[in-house]
Structure formats: C-alpha cells, structure tokens
C-alpha cells in the first residue's frame, strides 16, 4: 500500500477543482458540483419563525402569512435555480403546497416562498422544507 501526505490538493487550471464521479450503474459519470444541493432549510413557520437546520442560509424572515423570505450566505450565480419545497401541518389531513412566491422571482441572493393549504388560503405552517439546486456564484 502507498500513502501520499499533503495539506492541499488543487487543480492546475483556473476553474479550480471540478469533479465527476462514476454513476451507480458504472456506465457513465456525473458532475459533482451540478449534483450538489446548494442550500436547504427546515424551519418552523408558525409564530416566531425558527430555523431547525439549514445549509447556506443567512436569514429567514416572516414577511406575511405563509410567506417567507430566505437569504443565502453565499449567492447563487443567477436566478434560474430550482426550488423544491414541501410543507406539513399538525392536522394530518391537511395538504400543504409550498411554492415560489407568485410575484417575486428568485434572485441571486435569495428567494421568497409561499405555503398554502389545498383548496384554502395562505397559512403559516410548522414544518417547511426547501431544497435548492443550481449554479453557485
């Protein structure tokens, strides 16, 4: 067995480290950076909003009923990233839709989400999760 001991490993080009990893099937490779989630958050949106856990989120603000503004720690490259969200209520029968805010497009520094109950109105929800994929700045 051979071992190599260093402090840093860097790529030689200006692009820095770019990685690809073998696929599960072994027939191709997939891009490491493009596949990584760039931000996630799990928060309580009722009462005084509180973040349970997050990655690359600097602030969470309650802007209106069922509407929250999230700000990244490290900006995205553009506003074309994807947001996947879900919401939960203490009422087991409630169906919650969590979606990008209707009138505010995602920006490089953050995005606004809205939660509403099916066939009902916009409501604060206790369990909200959002995941971001896309290009980091």
């Amino acid at each position: 067995m051979s071992s190599l001991k260093v402090d840093n490993i860097t790529g030689r080009g200006n692009a820095g480290f770019t990685g690809s990893v073998k696929s599960e099937g072994g027939n191709t490779t997939t891009n490491l950076q493009q596949g990584l989630c760039k931000s996630f958050i799990n928060f309580n949106g009722e009462g005084t909003v509180a973040t349970r856990d997050s990655f690359n989120i600097s602030t969470l603000n309650d802007t209106a009923d069922g509407t929250y503004q999230l700000t990244f720690q490290t900006n995205m490259n553009d506003g074309n990233y994807t947001t996947s969200g879900t919401g939960g209520d203490t009422n087991a029968a409630a169906v919650i839709v969590c979606q990008p805010h209707d009138s505010e497009a995602p920006s490089t520094s953050g995005y606004r989400v809205t939660c509403l109950q099916a066939h009902a109105s916009i409501n604060d929800e206790p369990y909200i999760g959002v995941v971001i994929h896309g290009d980091l700045a």
């Binding site: 860097t10 997939t30 994807t82 996947s84 209707d102 009138s103 509403l116 896309g134």
Partner: protein, 152 residues
C-alpha cells in the same frame, strides 16, 4: 505546508481511501464513493447527488432557464410536460420533486405529479401541473424539478 497540483488522481484499486488526520473522509468501492458526513457516519456521494434539475417557463412557447442532464423539455399539452435526460437513468425507480408558481396572484396553488406511472422510463418522464382551485391542468409560469436516483 505542501500543495499537490495534478490533473488526475487515480486510486490503485476500488478500495482507495482519502484520509485527513486520522479520519477517512472519502472511501471508494466499485462505482461508489462514500464520504464522512457531518457526524460520524458515512454517506454515499453518488446517491446524494441530484441527477437532473430543470428550471423552466411553461407558458406560451416553453423555455428552459437552466438545467443539468436535460436534453429537451417537451410541451405535451396544457400543464403537461416531458423531460428527457441527456444521460439515462439506470432504471425507472427514481424520485423527482417539483415546485411551481403561476402569475402574480398569491394563493393560486399548483400541484405537480407524475402524469402516471407508465410515463417513467430510463430516458424520460412526463409530469403534469394542476390548478388547486379548479383541479384542471394549467401551464405554469415558472416550474422547477429535481431528480434523484440511480444513473445508468
């Protein structure tokens, strides 16, 4: 401090480990890399990666804002779209999630779901977006979806 500058690092076998200090941070086996997580457990790099994501405008002549591993997006019908992968998935058991917004009026909820199970394939899947109020299909101003699962 020492810096190693190289183009390619290749393990001698399928069980190469990358260790920092005394902690193995990346371990490999055939077609699988595992990395130490935030705690003490290991997690799969491949399984944790999104295999496809798409941001798109689904009204009028649809357009893709940004994407990864998407060859094309088809506008099949009102609120119904087909996403075609650049590189196929290994099977049709993958998972996808989506969100969407429509117009500038708050509270207009939309659901997204697979069109039906038969539309899942290794190369593509069909999805539909439904208006919460009218329970009818409706195009979305901004759609976003993410796919996780096994790549071919």
């Amino acid at each position: 401090m020492s810096t190693l500058s190289v183009d390619t690092i290749t393990g001698k076998s399928t069980s190469t480990n990358l260790t920092i200090g005394s902690t193995p941070v990346v371990s490999s086996s055939a077609n699988s890399l595992t990395i130490r997580g935030e705690g003490s457990n290991q997690t799969s790099i491949q399984q944790g990666l999104a295999k496809c994501w798409v941001g798109f405008v689904g009204t009028g002549t649809i357009s893709v804002s940004d994407s990864f591993n998407l060859s094309s997006l088809n506008d099949d019908d009102t609120g119904t779209y087909t996403a075609n992968f650049s590189t196929n998935m290994a099977n049709d058991d993958y998972c996808w999630s989506a969100s969407m917004k429509d117009g500038t009026t708050q509270g207009r909820g939309r659901y997204s779901c697979p069109q039906n199970a038969s539309t899942y394939s290794t190369s593509a899947f069909q999805m539909e977006f439904q208006n919460d109020t009218t329970s009818t299909m409706q195009d979305v101003d901004h759609g976003a979806l993410t796919v996780t699962g096994d790549l071919a």
